[in-house]
Amino acid sequence: MKYIIEYRNKDLSHKIANRINDLLKGYKGKISLMEVCGTHTHSIFHSGIMSLLSKEIEHLSGPGCPVCVTPNKYIDTAIAYSRLGDTIITTFGDMIKVPGSTSSLEKEKASGGTVRIIYSPLESLEIAKNNPGKKIVFLGVGFETTAPLVASTILSAAEENISNFFVLSGHKLIPPAMTALLESKEIKIDGFICPGHVSAIIGEKPYFPIVENFGIPCVIIGFEPIDLLEGIEMLIKQITVKKKPSVENQYKRVVRREGNEKALALIDKVFDVKDSPWRGLGLLSKSGLSIKKAYTKFDAEKNIECEIEKTKEHPECLCGEVLCGTKRPYDCTLFAKTCSPENPVGPCMVSSEGTCSAYYKFKK
């Protein structure tokens, strides 16, 4: 497993962890590092790196799981489509269990809705070709890593004249969410673990305003244990030694300074940037993607008519605040009582690395 296994070396991991802990000797107070990518949440948890590091470092999980930040209305819309007899919903596995206002795609599947889990958006095109009498609706969730794929898929559909393929766009952009968290001033963030593969697409530039306007260090980090430790070392050095925030790139083998210009051009060709609602952060300016007029015929919202139930947020669900780190799962009255991994009320309990789900394991 070339270019993977080398980044899992035990000795080197311990060396870097010791260097980080040495930097923190004598440091007064806690350093809060936030990651804004669900894959980083998973990698940090999976590798167990936090157990090697001093307790001075506090790891915060931000609104980086695209499924968790998708508001109920999107899921309710997908559910409404799945109830139409002539539609097939295609989705990444991540979405299947997330609760909407009153149901989830998993439950709809059990009630007769056609929902298919796919690995790649391209599979939706194949399903569309094989089911000419059905409307295939792909749930386009994900940040800048996934948006160019969906853009490319829409272009392929246009080229091949596939008329029964649609996308329900729920794509969101990471930098506006990072800015919103800092503007809210509700939590103390001392450094950002910036998402490696989002950055492979967008490059380093979008993080410059975070450093310039807020003075918060940003390091683009990969996903293997050595990447995480190297990146955290770079953040800690900025905070404790250099004392001058900047954008740095730990993941140089994948992330170019200018990003992937071809992918960015594809996003630009197919999508418009729009204001978008985020669970927990509200409506953020220029933080989401909608399908351009030129490709309206692939836009599910513009082509599929159906009644969508009135969006209901559970009044006691604190997923939004938990996602932003302003509340802990224990602060939620539903936690471990009405809301559990078997019966999740909100998305933080669904993903096995969701904050509430992780806390639930520890409470036992």
Binding site: M1, K2, Y3, I4, E6, N9, D11, L12, C37, G38, T39, H40, G64, C65, P66, F92, Y119, S120, P121, L122, E123, V141, G142, F143, T145, T146, P148, L149, S152, L155, S156, P195, G196, H197, V198, A200, I201, F223, K252, R253, V254, V255, R256, N260, K262, A263, L266
Partner: protein
């Protein structure tokens, strides 16, 4: 939302390629990249190659680590 992994490109046909990792092979789209060659390591996300791994950069760092490890053993 960044689950992606480096896989080696073993064949190209138009805008599609086949990548391989430890005997696992998959046809993927090359639509997001220019100038890829057989033998390149590509970062694969949901059936697409989103970037080419910079082997020179990777090998540079790996070599430094190797050197440090050797020095410390002496």
């Amino acid at each position: 939302m960044c689950l992606a992994i480096p896989m080696k490109l073993i064949s190209i046909e138009g805008n599609k390629g086949v990548v391989e990792l430890s005997g696992v092979k998959k046809e993927i789209s090359l639509n997001l990249l220019n100038n890829v060659e057989i033998g390149d390591y590509l970062i694969i996300h949901a059936g697409f190659a989103i970037e080419k791994l910079n082997e020179e950069e990777a090998n540079k760092t790996l070599a430094i680590w190797e050197e440090i490890a050797t020095l410390q053993k002496q």
